[in-house]
Amino acid sequence: MNKKKWLSTPYLIWMIAFTVIPLLLIGYYGFTTRDGSFTIQNITAIFSPAHSKALLKSLYLSLLCTVVCLLLAYPLALILKNKNVGQGGFVIMIFILPMWMNFLLRTYAWLNLLDDGGIIERIFSLVNIPYQSIIGTDAAIILGMVYNFLPFMILPLFNVLTKMDENVINAASDLGANSFQTFIKIILPLSLPGIVSGITMVFVPSLTTFVISDLLGARKIMLIGNIIEQEFSIADNRHLGSGLSLVLMIFILASMALINRYDKNGEGNAF
C-alpha cells in the first residue's frame, strides 16, 4: 500500500509543479491588476471588439480545420481498414512521418512554398500561370492547421476502425443492409469514440495556435492565440494575457463537455 503511494510521488510533484501551480498563477494574474488589486477587467476584456473578433475568428478557423480533417481522415481510415494491416500501417506511417520533423520547420516550409517568390510561384511562372500568393489569407492558415493536425485525426479513427469486429459488419450485410446502410447504422456509430478523440485532438491545438497564424497569416490575421502571446511577449501584460487565457480555457472546457456528452452516449451504449 505505502509502497504504491511512494511510487506516485514523483508524478504528484510533477503535476503540482507544472500543472497546478501554473494554473493557480494564471488564475491569480487573470484576476488582478498590475498593482495586485482584484479585478475582472482582464476577463471582460474579451468583449472588446478586437478581442472578440479574434476569438470568433479562432473558433471559426479551428472548427473549419476540424471538419476538413474529419472529412479527409475518415475516408482514408476507412480505406486503410479494408487493406491488410501491414499495408495500412505503412500508409499511416507516411502520413505521420512529417510529425518527426519540427513543427516550426514544417510551417516555415509552407511559408517558403506559398510565399511571393516562393517555389510554387516559380514553378507556375515556368508554365506562365499567374500566381496569387495565399499567404495572409484564411486559406493559408487552414492549410497549415490541417497539414499539422491531420495525423491527430487519422490515428484515432484508424485505431477504432481497424479494431472493429469484421463479423459485426458482415452480420449487418448478412441481415440485408447494403454498404451505405451498414456504414450509417453500424460503422459510424461504432467509430464515434474515435471521431470524438480525433475532434478533441485537432480542435484544441488549432483553437490555441499562434505560430501557424503568425507565419502563414503574415500577421494580417489575428487569432486569439496571437493576442494572448503578444500580451505576454510584446505588451508585457501578463495580467491581460492570463485573463484571456482563462476565457479561452472556458471555451475549450465547454466544447470538451459538449463532445464528451456525445461520446458518453456512444460509449455507454457501445461498451
Binding site: N167, S173, D174, G176, N178, N269, F271
Partner: protein, 363 residues
C-alpha cells in the same frame, strides 16, 4: 456417393468451387449438394476449408472458379445482403451499440416491415430461444450462451431458407454446449429450415447432423449420415478424425477374408481383388478380448485406465498396439486373444499417394 440423385432436388448446389488465398489452394474443385430441411455439418480440422465454404455460401467470400446455385438460381456473384440466408457468427457478432430488441429487429427494419410485425417477431423469437424479458438489455450484459441465442434469434426472424452456423458453440463451456446442441436440434425441427453447421468437434457433428461432410485440405473426404461416417469410414483420415479407432495395415487375401497382424480375419467386404494391401479400421469397442487359447491372435494387456462407462485398455498383439474399450476389466499382464466380429471390420483402399488420400467425392 450418389446422395444427390437419391434425394429430391437440392436447395444449395456448390459446383466445382475452388478458392485460394495468397496462392495457397484452400478449396479444390468442391462439389456439394444440400437438400431442404437438412442439418448438414461441415466437419474437419482447422484449415480444412470448412469455414471458407460456409462464408462463400453466405456471400462473405467469393469463389475463384465454380458456381453456387441456391434454389435454382445462380447466386455466385450476388452480394451477401441480397442472399436469402442468414448467418450465426462464431463470436456472435451482436451489434454492441444496440439493445437486444434493436439487434433482433435490424434485418426486419432494413426490409421495411411494420412496427407491429417487428414487435411480434421480437416476442416470438425471444420466446423461441427462452430469453423472454431481455428486450432492453445491452448485448454485453448477457452471458456467452445468451448472446449466442440472441444471435440465432436475430437470424431466424428473417425467416431464411437456410441458416449458416460458423462454430457457434465454440466459445461455450461443455455443459452449455451440450444444452445448446439440444436447443439447436429443437429449433431446426420447429422451424423446418436448412441448417449448415461448421465445426471441428466430431461429437457435436455426430449428435446433431442429418448429414456430415468430412473435409480435409480443401477436399471432401466423405459425406453421409453420422452412422455411415462412424461405422463405415471410407479412408484412414475419416476413421481417425471421427472417434477413436485402430487403423491397421493389412492384406485383402480374397473376398471376405483379410489378413492383419499375421492372422486371418473373416470380414464382409468384397471386390478388393486378391492379395491387395488395404487399411483396416476396427473401433476400440468392437475389439473383443477372449481367453488366451480361444482365438489365433494372442496378446498381452499393457495399459489399463478406468473411464467411467468402460475400461480403456491397450493390448500388444501381432506387433500392433490395439486400443480396446470394454466393460470387462483385464488387469495389466493378462494374456488374452483377440476376436472381431466380421461385421465390425471395415476395409479401406490404401492410398497410393498423398494426393489420393485426399480424393474428392464424385457425384
Amino acid at each position: 456417393m450418389g446422395i444427390g440423385e437419391t434425394m429430391k432436388t437440392p436447395l444449395i448446389d456448390l459446383v466445382n468451387i475452388s478458392k485460394s488465398y495468397d496462392g495457397q489452394l484452400i478449396i479444390d474443385d468442391l462439389n456439394l449438394s444440400i437438400r431442404e430441411n437438412e442439418f448438414v455439418t461441415l466437419l474437419g480440422p482447422s484449415g480444412c476449408g470448412k469455414t471458407t465454404t460456409l462464408r462463400m455460401i453466405g456471400g462473405f467470400e467469393h469463389p475463384d472458379t465454380g458456381k453456387i446455385i441456391f434454389d435454382g438460381q445462380d447466386i455466385t456473384s450476388l452480394p451477401a445482403y441480397k442472399r436469402q440466408l442468414n448467418t450465426v457468427f462464431q463470436k456472435y457478432a451482436l451489434f454492441p451499440h444496440m439493445t437486444i430488441s434493436e439487434n433482433i429487429a435490424f434485418g426486419l427494419k432494413i426490409k421495411g416491415k411494420s412496427k407491429t410485425y417487428i414487435n411480434d417477431k421480437i416476442k416470438y423469437a425471444l420466446n423461441l430461444v427462452n430469453l423472454k424479458g431481455y428486450e432492453n438489455r445491452m448485448p454485453d450484459r448477457l452471458s456467452g450462451g445468451q448472446q449466442q441465442r440472441i444471435a440465432i434469434a436475430r437470424a431466424i426472424v428473417n425467416e431464411p431458407k437456410v441458416l449458416l452456423l460458423d462454430e457457434p458453440l465454440g466459445a461455450l463451456d461443455l455443459k452449455l454446449r451440450q444444452d445448446m446442441q439440444y436447443e439447436l436440434i429443437r429449433l431446426k425441427n420447429e422451424l423446418g429450415i436448412t441448417f449448415i453447421y461448421v465445426t471441428h468437434d466430431q461429437e457435436e457433428a455426430l449428435t446433431m447432423s442429418d448429414t456430415i461432410v468430412v473435409m480435409n485440405q480443401g477436399y471432401i473426404q466423405q459425406m453421409g449420415s453420422p452412422e455411415t461416417i462412424y461405422n463405415e469410414p471410407e479412408n484412414a483420415f475419416v476413421a481417425d478424425f471421427i472417434g477413436e479407432s485402430n487403423i491397421i495395415g493389412g492384406t485383402m487375401l480374397e473376398d471376405k477374408l483379410v489378413e492383419i497382424c499375421g492372422t486371418k480375419f473373416a470380414c464382409v467386404d468384397t471386390g478388393f481383388g486378391k492379395n491387395k494391401p488395404v487399411d483396416v479400421v476396427i473401433r476400440p469397442e468392437d475389439v473383443e478380448l477372449k481367453p488366451e487359447d480361444t482365438n489365433p491372435l494372442k496378446g498381452v494387456v499393457t495399459h489399463l485406465i478406468f473411464k467411467g462407462v468402460h475400461y480403456e485398455m491397450e493390448v500388444q498383439a501381432g506387433g500392433f498396439e490395439w486400443l480396446v474399450h470394454s466393460t470387462q476389466m483385464f488387469p495389466i499382464g493378462t494374456k488374452v486373444s483377440i476376436y472381431v466380429d466380421p461385421f465390425n471390420i471395415q476395409i479401406m483402399n490404401k492410398p497410393e499417394s498423398e494426393d489420393e488420400e485426399a480424393v474428392g467425392i464424385d457425384e
